[in-house]
Amino acid sequence: MCGLCGLLAGAHWTDESVGAGGALPARQAKLRRAALLNDVLGFYRLRVDDWQGAALSVRGPTGRTELADSLADLWPKAEAAAGRTLDPLDPDLLAFLASREP
């Protein structure tokens, strides 16, 4: 059981259907989320893919791949794949994101 999950079964709080009321079809929402994740995780040379709509796979620079049940579950797995901590307050990450803004 993952202590970081807001919910253990059914919809996770981060699912599009919870916050945006299903404005996007579920499959499309998950693909879009994976694309946004890759905008962030590219900084760490990580790659995320939606895994059959049921999970997220994250692959590190060494090829190490982890599966995560939810977005909350993703971060410890991504840190394991990257071999480092991932900090959204890291100035270098924020500069990287700024450089990608149109």
């Binding site: 807001g6 919910l7 916050g19």
Partner: protein
């Protein structure tokens, strides 16, 4: 996401030793709003509770994988609540419609919240109501200085009850009120004399009760028009000198996926230092505002409001953090919300 109408609200009553938790609870149990309330308490103190549905807890806790105190499941609490629910279903005890849990004054109350939010059975039948924290009107400032757990108890509160106003010097109460406002600007403050408090206000469920949530959410964020509004440090406690509250405002609608990415990443790395988050968000694609709350790693199920409580439709977040750089938080939120634009 909305709660099942049959879901039972859980009011968590916490506060330091001798701050008046049990006196307040005894008073509340006599109020009509608290009729049909079951009560679980950690320790039977000197003040007896004459109530039909009082149970005791011991301290059997299970530490979850993350190892953070806020992610512990209290096995004793889980067992006690499930037991109450089963007995209620079998008709062995009255059909209680509210559960009040009085925590021990010496402990961090977040495992109580974690248990209710995480347990796969409990969360289908119960939801978190308010966290009510008592603060001693006479010794509260000293307690905040000397006992880090009191700072935590106050930081996660939805309602801060300053007790013993009748015994305290007015200037002391005023200073305590100001200190608590700096520490937790989103909590509603009440004061008691002889243990008497406004039961209605204590119970009104922020962002959950349909009748009150628009008003209470507006109050959370009433001072949040500027992102500089609450960046003054709460400096009472030598151990938690760097606890700060800040309000962040976003003018453009946010992408729900981007917000989920930002908050889960933030809580994974800094959850232990995000003591409280309350947010009302304008989400692209949603036709009503969304309320998100968190206590450390714990995220409450988001709820939707009927209307925007302010004249504008800006998203507002109140964050009470420990040791986190406020400017970096604001910049981080802005950068992540720009994803995909």
């Amino acid at each position: 996401m909305t709660h099942d109408p049959d879901s039972i609200p859980v009011t968590v009553l916490t506060g330091f030793l001798g701050s008046g938790k049990t006196t307040l609870l005894r008073h509340l149990l006599g109020a009509p709003q608290f009729a049909d309330t079951a009560v679980l308490i950690n320790e039977f103190g000197e003040i007896g509770l004459d109530h039909l549905l009082v149970g005791a807890l011991d301290d059997d806790i299970v530490l979850l994988q993350s190892g953070c105190i806020c992610c512990t499941i209290r096995d004793d609490l889980r067992t006690a609540i499930r037991g109450l629910y089963d007995r209620r279903a079998r008709g062995e005890i009255p059909n209680f419609r509210r559960l009040a849990i009085e925590t021990t004054g010496l402990a961090d109350p977040t495992p109580v919240l974690s248990t209710i939010l995480h347990d796969p059975v409990l969360r289908h039948h119960f939801h978190l109501g308010n966290v009510v924290t008592t603060v001693d009107g006479v010794t509260g400032l000293t307690d905040l200085d000397a006992h880090p757990e009191t700072v935590k108890q106050a930081a996660i509160a939805d309602r801060l009850v300053i007790t013993k106003r009748d015994l305290a010097v007015p200037a002391t109460v005023e200073a305590l009120r100001a200190a608590l406002r700096r520490l937790n600007p989103a909590a509603n403050q009440l004061e008691t004399e002889n243990g008497v408090a406004d039961a209605e206000l204590l119970l009104a469920e922020d962002a959950v009760g349909a009748a009150t949530r628009d008003e209470t959410v507006q109050r959370w964020l009433a001072d949040g028009g500027s992102d500089h509004a609450h960046t003054a440090p709460f400096d009472r406690n030598r151990h938690d000198r760097d606890i700060r509250a800040c309000c962040l405002v976003l003018e453009r609608p946010i992408a729900w996926a981007a917000f989920g990415i930002w908050l889960t990443m933030l809580l994974n790395r800094h959850g232990a230092d995000v003591l409280r988050l309350k947010a009302i968000l304008t989400v692209a694609g949603a036709d009503s505002p969304v309320v998100v709350q968190a206590v450390q790693h714990l995220v409450y199920p988001p709820t939707h409001l009927a209307n925007w409580p302010f004249g504008d439709r800006h998203s507002r977040l109140v964050l009470i953090t420990r040791g986190l750089d406020q400017a970096a938080l604001r910049l981080s939120l802005e950068r992540f919300m720009a994803l995909g634009r």
